[in-house]
């Protein structure tokens, strides 16, 4: 029997904690890491009689994202109550947006392999985060910390437009970059500032209706998203191929076992009884607020990428890679300015040696021991032939280790390139004189030996001779 071909359908729901100072409906601090319940005020605790008042900055941040993904900003949106009982949800309902969200119908461009894809964003809505349940043992009880309760969230819901885990990760990374460009979310996935739920289903290739989906919750790293989705895909295909059916359910990813399992607390069907929150009037956003926010938008990744291509002559891929994060893009541009060198050379170094070194030490670009000026200084010396590209790698490593500028390293280690043609000629003369046999073979037509002579000259100079100069002079010498 011919094996069935399956198509994977993925939609992501991403919760981005907005980087406001205070909570979405109260004046309590949102700072991470405080002692339990010290940042849970009367409103966050749902004490009797208290009332929510919406944080302006949270609204502006939602508008920012909406503009950045070319979405519609709702002139009027509604806060609703989503009713369910859970100890980390103090009021017994979550204030969220349901029927009329603040942002609708956006799109995001991703690059996967060589191809470009547009992923639809169905909606983004404002809501409050819940607290945390701590399961360490308190004599068999669970501890509740409500510091996180009321932290503003923007829930960004994609269309089911992704067809592989790789696409899902690319989309998530793109969105992650975007919220950080916009400075609306710190993107810290370990602290839960940027979380992802993945809706995954499979269907026979060619089928147009969707298969039954599962929702896998709380994926807090790109790697886990990829692994959990791939696990789900495999699990669902195995199920269907063995004649079973996929149950529509909420699952939890266990990173230790690399598997997903059904969430027990979500087993029963929910009936959230959404209705408009009578404590909050409709959120109205006028044109002037939108324009005000629009003027504050930074250059966005796609715009920056296009500019990098036209201004610096970079390829689509290079430009996209360098604009992955605002910090990386800024680093690149600062390097170009500092080096006064060919942008392509700068791009290669930033994406190549620098990225590799950072990766090796598990550092991010803003933790780099070499700043853009240092790297620029190194590239200046390549450009002005003070050192060769090969020596430059050596210099780079020394700069990294010793945290010293390029010129100092070159000077101390005597790595300056020999460009003085008289000096190089002198060395060439010695090499030629010391290898009469090879000279004779070369002269009798074995031109391959030219490389041998170059190698000998470079060896004699410990690689410091300018290769172009060596080539030129050697050619002159040997043809004589």
């Amino acid at each position: 029997m011919k094996e069935m071909e399956w198509e994977v359908v993925i939609g992501l729901e991403i919760h981005a904690q907005l980087a406001t100072r205070s909570k979405i409906f109260s004046g309590a601090s949102t700072a991470y890491g405080a002692a339990p319940n010290t940042q849970a005020c009367a409103i966050d605790l749902g004490l009797p009689g208290v009332l929510p008042v919406l944080n302006r900055e949270a609204v502006r941040m939602a508008i920012k994202l909406g503009l950045a993904i070319e979405a519609t900003i709702a002139r009027r949106s509604i806060f609703a109550r989503k009713n369910y009982f859970y100890p980390d949800l103090p009021k017994g309902y979550q204030i969220s947006q349901y029927e009329l969200p603040v942002v609708e119908k956006g799109r995001l461009r991703i690059l996967v392999g060589d191809g470009e894809r547009i992923i639809g964003v169905t909606r983004a809505h404002l809501e409050e985060d819940a607290g945390k349940s701590l399961h360490e043992d308190f004599h068999g009880l669970t501890g509740i910390d409500l510091n996180r309760a009321g932290t503003p969230l923007l829930e960004i819901v994609s269309e089911p437009d992704m067809r592989s885990a790789a696409e899902a990760v690319a989309y998530m990374k793109k969105l992650h970059a975007l919220v950080r460009y916009l400075e609306i979310c710190d993107g810290n996935m370990q602290e839960g500032s940027f979380r992802c739920d993945a809706n995954v289903s499979v269907r026979p290739k060619g089928e147009t209706s969707l298969g039954t989906r599962t929702e896998t919750k709380n994926l807090n790293s790109f790697r886990f998203v990829e692994k959990a989705i791939n696990y789900e895909i495999e699990r669902q295909i195995d199920l269907l191929e063995s004649g079973g059916t996929v149950a529509q359910e909420t699952r939890l990813y266990d990173s230790n076992k690399n598997e997903t399992r059904p969430m027990r607390s979500k087993e029963e069907a929910n009936d959230y009884r959404y209705f408009p929150d009578p404590d909050l009037l409709p959120l109205e956003i006028d044109e002037s607020l939108i324009e005000e926010v629009r003027r504050e938008l930074p250059e966005l990744p796609d715009e920056k990428s296009a500019r990098f291509q036209s201004q610096y002559g970079l390829s689509d891929y290079d430009a996209a890679t360098l604009t992955d994060s605002r910090e990386l893009a800024d680093f690149f541009e600062a390097t170009v300015t500092a080096a006064g060198a060919e942008p392509k050379l700068c791009a290669n170094w930033v994406m190549g040696d620098l990225a590799a070194a950072l990766n090796r030490f598990g550092l991010t670009i803003d933790q780099s021991p070499l700043n853009a000026e240092h790297l620029g200084g190194l590239l200046t010396r390549i450009e002005d032939n003070t050192i060769s590209g090969k020596i430059a790698k050596q210099v780079f490593n020394l700069m990294w280790d010793k945290r010293r500028p390029a010129d100092e390293v070159i000077e101390r280690q005597g790595l300056k390139q020999i460009t003085d043609s008289a000096a190089i000629e002198k060395i060439i003369d010695e090499v030629v004189a010391n290898n009469p046999a090879q000279l004779e073979q070369y002269c009798s037509g074995k031109e391959k030996l030219f490389g041998f002579f170059v190698g000998q000259v470079m060896r004699a100079t410990q690689g410091k001779a300018n290769p172009q100069e060596v080539n030129k002079l050697l050619k002159q010498k040997l043809t004589r």
Binding site: P48, N83, P90, Y274, P278, D279, L281
Partner: protein
């Protein structure tokens, strides 16, 4: 002295005829003497009252006294008062000592008022007789076997019995006006958004509104002056300047256009009450008002719509009482579900449970459109009725309630009959317009209230109209026997 109005007491304080401390001690002793039989106080804050009075006297001696400085007051136990038990009439909050003041409590204190205590009420303001309170029913000062009305029954009884010069109340479907009517006092439900709801324990957020309960419109105006105004802590508070209510009290009402909705006089209204309302309307005619019949065609839909909107909102508002962070927790919960279900099952009384269940049902999957959305549409119709009416007239008048105070226990087994006792008051809540109830006579020995409903933010005019009536009549001066 206990029979003096706030205006009179204020003058006496200013003339140094007595101190606030003396005044406070007098009311505290009256409370000690009478409150047990009426059961109108949940908490008497004697120490706090004496301290407040001393502060008020000190302020006065420094020349810093306003019209309410040193005047005693009691709050409905729905307003959070810092450091004082705030029960909302419920077992589930029996142990709740509020860690903050409601804005209303804060403002009354800032105006120099003295807190005598917290008043009994229907549990979570759900009731029309004060019989759903965890602390037992309040008795009507006019007839110990009758209810005082509800939900602000403790407030109405305490004011009528002269145990406090004034009280605060809240009105979600008539909870200020109906008990004011049953106890022969004056009660104002302001426009939705006029008085801050912050710290006022929510029943139905789009309907709840706090207001003053006093013996006269003038006293109500004084207390309203302290209560009203914009509050940035309440998103539904309206940012609009507060008029000087007392300054408008004596305006002429010559040419006032009164509308009398015919629906108020249809089936179910006691004839004697109808006659009293007619004669009160005649009084207005004598004061220069023009009277015309008018219609609120959707009024009969107000009770049905209300019993969707209010329970739906309360079903969510009361979810926070879960035995986790404060309030009643059941003994030895066997798991989380048990903790919730038993804490709430044991902590709430029957009426509160009924309303939570109805609201839960009305919002549940498959029923939202049939019930909740439909009720919102009917609410629009009812609101439009008022809009249309106020294009023709300045004020609508009619009975506050279809009957006088009914007997204790008379309607406790029949929720529907209880609900229908709010038929005349609910409309104003659904529309959000202000309304006042004033005493206009007696049927037998029980007082009858007349309701005046005004357009949005017409409180100063309602108080003016009520005051002019009270200048011409003396129903508001009657005192129940046994409380002299």
């Amino acid at each position: 002295m206990h029979n003096k109005t706030i205006t009179e007491l204020s003058a006496g304080l200013q003339a140094r005829e007595y101190s606030s401390l003396e005044l406070t001690e007098l009311f505290l002793s009256r409370i000690r003497r009478h409150s047990k039989q009426l059961n109108c106080f949940v908490t008497v804050t004697e120490e706090r009252a004496l301290a407040d009075a001393k502060v008020a006297d000190a302020a006065r001696s420094k020349g810093r006294a306003g019209p309410l400085t040193g005047i005693p007051l009691a709050h409905k136990d729905i307003f959070c008062t810092k450091g004082v038990k705030t029960s909302c009439g419920s077992k589930i909050l029996d142990n709740f000592v509020a860690p903050y003041d409601a804005t209303v409590a804060d403002r009354c204190r800032a105006a120099g008022m003295v807190l005598l205590g917290k008043l009994n009420m229907d549990e979570f303001a759900m009731g029309s007789s004060n019989e759903t309170s965890y602390y037992g029913p309040v008795r009507n000062p006019w007839d110990a076997d009758s209810v005082p009305g509800g939900s602000s029954g403790g407030s109405a009884a305490a004011v009528a019995a002269r145990l406090t010069p004034a009280a605060t109340g809240t009105d979600t479907g008539g909870s200020i006006r109906q008990p004011a009517s049953f106890c022969g006092i004056t009660g104002l439900k302001p426009t939705y958004g006029r008085v801050s709801r912050y710290g006022m324990i929510a029943f139905a957020s789009s309907l709840d509104q706090g207001g003053p309960m006093a013996r006269t419109a003038e006293d109500a105006a004084l207390v309203m002056q302290a209560m009203a105004g914009f509050d940035e802590k309440d998103s539904t508070s309206v940012d609009r300047s507060v008029p000087d209510y007392r300054a408008e009290l004596n305006n002429s009402i010559d040419g006032l256009k009164i509308g009398v909705p015919k629906e108020f006089f249809e089936e179910g209204l006691n004839e004697d009450i109808a006659a009293l309302i007619e004669s009160a309307i005649d009084q207005y005619r004598r004061l220069g008002a023009q009277v015309k019949p008018i219609s609120l065609p959707n009024m009969k839909l107000s009770v049905p719509a209300y019993y969707v909107v209010a329970p739906a909102e309360c079903s969510a508002n009361l979810s926070r009482y879960d035995g986790v962070r404060y309030g009643y927790r059941c003994e030895v919960p066997k798991d989380l579900a048990d903790l919730y279900s038993r804490s709430r099952g044991e902590g709430f009384g029957a009426e509160v449970k009924r309303r939570i269940l109805i609201g839960t049902y009305a919002l549940s999957a498959g029923y939202y459109d049939t019930y909740y959305l439909k009720a919102q549409k009917v609410r629009h119709l009812i609101s439009d009725d008022f809009k249309n009416a106020f294009e023709q007239v300045d004020v609508l008048v009619g009975p506050t309630a279809p009957s006088t105070a009914f007997g204790l226990g008379e309607k406790t087994d029949d929720p529907i009959a209880m609900y229908l006792s709010d038929i005349f008051t609910i409309g104003a809540n659904l529309a959000g317009v202000p309304a006042i109830s004033i005493p206009v006579g007696f049927v037998g020995d029980k007082p009858v209230g007349m309701q005046l409903i005004g357009n949005y933010f017409a409180e100063e005019r309602l108080l003016n109209w009520a005051h002019r009536y009270q200048q011409a009549t003396d129903w508001h001066t009657r005192m129940p026997e046994g409380f002299e």
